[in-house]
Amino acid sequence: MASPIISLSSIAAPGRAKLDELLQQVAEHKGCGTSSGSGKASCGTGAGQGDLSPEVWEKVKNHPCYSEEAHHHYARMHVAVAPACNIQCNYCNRKYDCANESRPGVVSEKLTPEQAAKKVLAVASTIPQMTVLGIAGPGDPLANPEKTFKTFELISKTAPDIKLCLSTNGLMLPDHVDTIESFNVDHVTITINMVDPDVGAQIYPWIFYKNKRYKGREAAQILSERQLQGLEMLTERGILCKVNSVMIPGINDEHLVEVNRAVKSRGAFLHNIMPLISAPEHGTVFGLNGQRGPSAQELKALQDSCEGEMNMMRHCRQCRADAVGLLGEDRSAEFTTENVMAMEVEYDLESRQAYQAVVEQERQAKAAAKQAELETMAGEHSDVKILVAVATKGSGRINEHFGHATEFQIYEASTAGAKFVGHRRVDLYCQGGYGEEEALESTIIRAINDCAAVFVAKIGGCPKESLKAAGIDAVDRYAFEYIEQSVIAYYRDYLEQVRGGAIVHGTRGDAEIRQGAFVAA
C-alpha cells in the first residue's frame, strides 16, 4: 500500500531555523503511520482500544507511556523536581535515582519548579510531539507536594495542551487526590509490588508516615492500605490509574497475579510488570544480597498469565526520569539547564496542533496496512507461534541498521496476527564499540535468543552468518516497511515452510534481560 508523504515544512513556523532543523530530523525519523488508531487490537493487549471504554481510550491513545502504539509517535518528558522519598525499597539506593522507576546508578539533574517549567516549554516548542509531562522522581512526587504541584501550576498556565502525569509509591496519595484532580492530572502511576504485608516486609524495610518510622510487616500493611485507598479514590473521580509492579523472583513473582486482581477490581486500567533491575554496583539491598532479576521468558510468562485479567504494558523501558524524547530516544543533552535558561521560549500552540494532526493521519494509514495484511490470514489456524526481533527507530517501521540498534522490539506472530510483547535492550552491552564486533554479536544473540528471526533495515554478511549459526534468521527484505504488516507476512511464509517440511519448528531457549536503564541517545 502506498505511503502518504508528510510535508512538515508546511507547518514549521517561518524564520525559526532551529525548529525547522529539528522537524527535519523528526521527519527522517517518522515517515508514516502506525497500527490500530482506534481499531480493535487483534490481541487484546494495549495495542489498541481493546476492552477500554471510549473515555479511557481517548485519554490513553496519545500517551507515549500507556499506549504502546502511541509511543512510536508522541513523546513524553520527565522533570526531576522531587528528590525526597518517604519509604525505603530494597531495590533502590537513594544515593541515585529510584532504580526501578527511572534509572539505576545515574543521578538526574535536580530542578526547581521554575527551571522545570521553563525546560518543559522549551522542549515542547521544539519537539511538537511532546504531549506528556511526568513527574516521577528521583524520589516520590507526593513526598515533595509543594514542588510537584508548583511545577504543574506553572505549566498548565502556559501550555494547557500538555498532559500532566505523576508516578508515586502511593503512601501519601489519599491526602493529595483533591489537588491532583484540581490540576486536571489525568494519569497517575502507582507502584504496587504487593497486597500482602508478609510479602511487603521483604521488599520495604521501612516507611516514614505521620512523623514515625514504621518497620517490617506493619510498614508494609500501612503502605498497602494507603496505596489501594488512593487507587480507589482516583478511579472514583475518573482519573486514569496505571499500576507498576517490579517482578522480584522468589519474593513477589507468583503474588503479582493476586496484585493484578486487586488493582483491576479497584479500577486500574493498566498493569505494567517490570523486571527487577539489580546489580551489586547499584549498591541496593537486592543488588548486594544477590537477588536476581527475572529472565525474559519468566517475565513474559507472568505478563501472559495476567493478560486475561487486564491490559498489560509491555513497552516500558524503565527509562531515565529526566529523559526527553520519544521512548527509546533521548535528547536530553540538547536541553541541559544551562541551555534552557539561555533559550528564548515562544510557545506556539497552533503549530503544535497542526503537527499532531499530521501524526494522526500517519497512524490511520498504518492501521489500514496492518488490517489488510491480517485479512490474508483469515481462516488460518495453527499452534505455531514465533517471536521476531525488530530493529526500529520508531514510527512503526523497520528502519534501523542491525549494527546501530540499541534495542530490539519483540513481536509474537501467530495466526491471530502480530502482537508486540516487549523489547530487549542491547545498549549497555555496546560499550566495547564497533571494534569488538564478536562480543557485540554474542550479546545481541543472547538478548534475542528466543526469536526465530530478526528484522533489520540492513545487516552485514558476518553478523548475518553468526545469527544463522545461532538459528536466528536475519531478514532485511522488509527494510523500511511497516513492522506488523511484515511480521504477519513473514509468519505466513514460515507457516507454509513448516507445513511443507522445509522448516522444522521447535521451541527456542530463553533470553537475557539487560541490567540497566535506557541511556542510549
Binding site: 528528590p83 525526597a84 518517604n86 537513594r94 515533595n144 514515625k212
Partner: protein, 72 residues
C-alpha cells in the same frame, strides 16, 4: 545535645528539611545541615527525631556530642 548531619553520607535528598519542627535544617553546598541552636532533638514535638526517621541513609543524622543535652 543537638543532632548533626554527616555531610559525606548525605545524599542531599531534602527529605529531612520540611519534617523538622524547628526549621533547623537547611541546604548548604548540595548537602543539608542542622543549626544546633535551633535543634531540640524533637523533644516536646515527636517521639523520635524526625530527621533520623526520614533519612534514607543510616547513621547520617546523629547526635552531636559537642553540645549539651537539650532541656525543655
Amino acid at each position: 545535645m543537638a543532632y548533626r548531619i554527616v555531610a559525606s553520607q548525605c545524599t542531599g535528598c531534602s527529605a529531612c528539611e520540611p519534617e523538622c519542627p524547628n526549621m533547623a535544617i537547611s541546604e548548604k553546598n548540595g548537602t543539608f545541615v542542622i543549626d544546633p541552636a535551633k535543634c531540640t532533638e524533637c523533644i516536646n514535638y515527636f517521639d523520635e527525631p524526625q530527621c533520623v526517621a526520614v533519612c534514607p541513609v543510616d547513621d547520617t543524622c546523629i547526635i552531636d556530642n559537642n553540645y549539651p543535652r537539650y532541656s525543655a
